[in-house]
């Protein structure tokens, strides 16, 4: 395999584009002879970062309307002309099924491998008129839950497994930096800071994070909470209202998205991920690699797969039990021990050094086949 094309749905700061960036960075360092480029269906804030690693082609502007059922034929022709000038590749890797939106516009794909990193309603792209099922040569999934669901949706087609992965964190979070971040959040040295992050949707469940905060706050005044992100999503305004209504504003901060989330994750004592549905939350990998213990629900967000015997959490929807798990981490030694165990687990399985070679091997097998 000499030429690889990565395809993403957008260059926003969501899982798949970040995953693509991590893989591109690893390939550049470890497989310098492989020529890689990236096509993004839409642009976004990661464009510059990505362009430092690989040549990037953005098809649509971030807010350009597009009807997959009846696309503008002139625009289709124009975009196909653009992509036809891209070099031929041996394999095209769609990083997520959502990246399938770009398929009708890509003229030369070589072997097409789709890496399923979604679950639930996000798999609707399998049925969309973009030809994903027909044009994919080989399927892999980033987590076991996604793999099972995709296989079922594809009518028993074989779906392999290649785990998602992240870069090792670059945070040099010394004690003073951590204290500054905590102070900005109104958190003192004797407080226990519980952080959550994500877009403000029912799936990511910031409402359950708020319930968790309420239960913990009612039991002790040592807890402080911060939810990061989601400020442009419809649920956010409702959450703001709830924080006010429940008189939690001195304990709970709703923080806008930040480009460098790792600093906040490192400053946290616990990372809570109460998502109702999440295929394989990369943010949990980031938190664990920083030594911040992660808690969440079993069964619904791949955390048991991610953390194995180091999983900390409760069955969905037991928010009270989740609160008990957080309380069990009040003791600093308990936190340190739990965080270290999760860190080791993630480092050995879900960093680029372990995951990227597996993914590359899948791609090479797909080409060879």
């Amino acid at each position: 395999m000499r030429r690889l094309r990565l395809v993403v749905h957008a260059l926003d700061r969501t899982g798949p584009p970040v995953l693509a960036r991590t893989f591109a960075g690893w390939l550049r360092s470890h497989v310098p002879g492989l020529v890689v480029d990236l096509v993004a269906f839409r642009g976004g804030p990661l464009a510059d970062d990505m362009a430092e690693l690989v040549p990037v082609t953005v098809l649509l502007e971030p807010h350009e309307p597009w009807d997959h059922h009846q696309p503008d034929p002139d625009r289709v022709r124009e975009l196909r002309n653009r992509t036809s000038s891209l070099p031929a590749v041996d394999v095209t890797l769609l990083v997520s099924v959502a990246a399938g939106q770009a398929l009708p516009l890509l003229m030369d794909r070589g072997t097409t491998v789709t890496w399923v990193v979604e679950q639930g309603e996000d798999l609707h792209w399998l049925d969309a008129p973009v030809g994903l099922a027909a044009r994919t040569t080989s399927w892999i999934a980033g987590a076991e839950g996604a793999r099972r669901e995709a296989a079922a949706r594809l009518g028993g087609v074989e779906v392999g497994w290649s785990p998602e992965f992240v870069d090792e964190p670059q945070v040099a979070a010394g004690k003073s930096a951590r204290e500054v971040i905590r102070a900005d959040l109104g958190v003192g040295p004797d407080h226990l800071l519980v952080v959550g992050a994500g877009i403000a949707t029912y799936r990511k469940a910031p409402d359950l994070f708020l319930e968790l905060a309420l239960l913990l706050a009612r039991s002790s005044d040592i807890f402080r909470f911060a939810w990061i992100g989601g400020e442009h999503d419809p649920l956010h305004a409702l959450l703001e209202r709830e924080v006010d209504r429940l008189e939690l504003s001195h304990l709970v901060r709703l923080v806008p998205s930040v480009p460098d989330l790792d600093r906040l994750l490192a400053a946290a004592d616990v990372f809570a991920h109460p998502a109702r549905l999440d295929a394989f939350p990369l943010v949990c990998l980031h938190a664990a690699l920083l030594g911040t213990p992660v808690v969440g629900f079993a069964d619904v967000a791949a955390l048991e797969e991610m953390f194995g015997s180091t999983f900390l959490g409760a069955p969905y929807p037991d928010v009270a039990a989740l609160a008990e798990v957080v309380r069990s981490l009040v003791n600093a030694d308990a936190r340190q021990e739990a965080g270290a165990a999760q860190q080791d687990r993630v480092r050995s399985r879900f960093t680029a050094s372990s995951g990227a070679p597996l993914l590359l091997a899948h791609l090479e097998r797909a080409v060879a086949a």
Partner: protein
Amino acid sequence: MGEQQGASAGMAGRSRTVLVVAAAADRRASRRSLLDVVAELDRRAGTEAALWYLRDGVDPEAGERRADFVVDHLRGWTPATVLDRLVGPRMGNRLRGIRLRRRLTRLAPDIVLLDDGLGDRILRRLPAGVVRIVRHNPIPSEDRLLEAPVPPRADLWLIGPEAPPAPPGAGPVLVDRPVRDFGAARRLAAPDVQARLRAEAGLPPDALVVVGWGTGWLDGAELFPRVLWALGARHGVTAHGLWVGPLVTAEDEARLRAEAHRCGLGDRYHLVRGGRELHTCGDVAVLPYRDVADDPRQPSAELPSVPFAVAAGLPVVTFAAAGTADDPAVFVVPDVDVDALAAAAAAVLGPDRRSARAERVESARRRLDVGPWVDELLAAVDEVVGR
């Protein structure tokens, strides 16, 4: 209604006329209660009720009783306006006054009830012996700034638990209650009606049913499945849940059903967009309200009020955010505490829940219904007259 016997004959057995004066039609719960009181008085043998507003207000809702007279309409009464133009407003106003007094004379009220204590200005030269009642409401009328202050003299004061008190030394006080005509709710509690409603909602006839209702986030629609889960997981109570959501969108429905599935509820979660009757179709009402935009005692076209559910014999479990009045059938738990909701629901789902319903209906009638309260009112009036 036929359920209330006439109150004490009072007034020496002759018929009596009650004039109720309110500032204007508005959206307060107290006015809706007042309309039901007026209707109940009108239904009583030997009693006739008239409703006057001082000025126009909001448009009446469908089926709502309109005022028999709006005092402010005298402003545009042609004979008076002609006099205004010809000789000036003083003569026109004298004519208006004469007209008003003639109306009062023809009506010949035995009892005058001034809602919010407003309207005393129209009662000049009322004959002696007319019983004056002043009612204080929890939320005062917005028109109070347009009217003379509350007159210090009344024969009887109606003061609700959250209303401003009567002046010191005011005289007899009757505790006002936010009563309504809950005949429709009581009819829904009948066993044959409940059986029909269960069948309509697809519920097993003998299953424990938890009912809730609402339109979305503020009503806690997504908390409801978790209450059902907690009932089972914490208390071993396997109940069906019926959520009545008249305005639920297809997207909301998919989300709620997915939540129910995640909670392992299987076929025990029922979501319907049905009519108001289905809200009474259960063994307990669980209302995980996050907030209430309006007075929770206000039934809307789509959603009933908590008192309506109580009047239908349902125990109600809800959050403190619902702001419900203190009632023995309403159990309030801390906000957004799903486990506490489930615990309260489990506590009221006893083995005798069905047989106890008739008892709860009658108990609620005594507390909440307009009939018993009007009995009290007329008895209080008779006592005033007899003094």
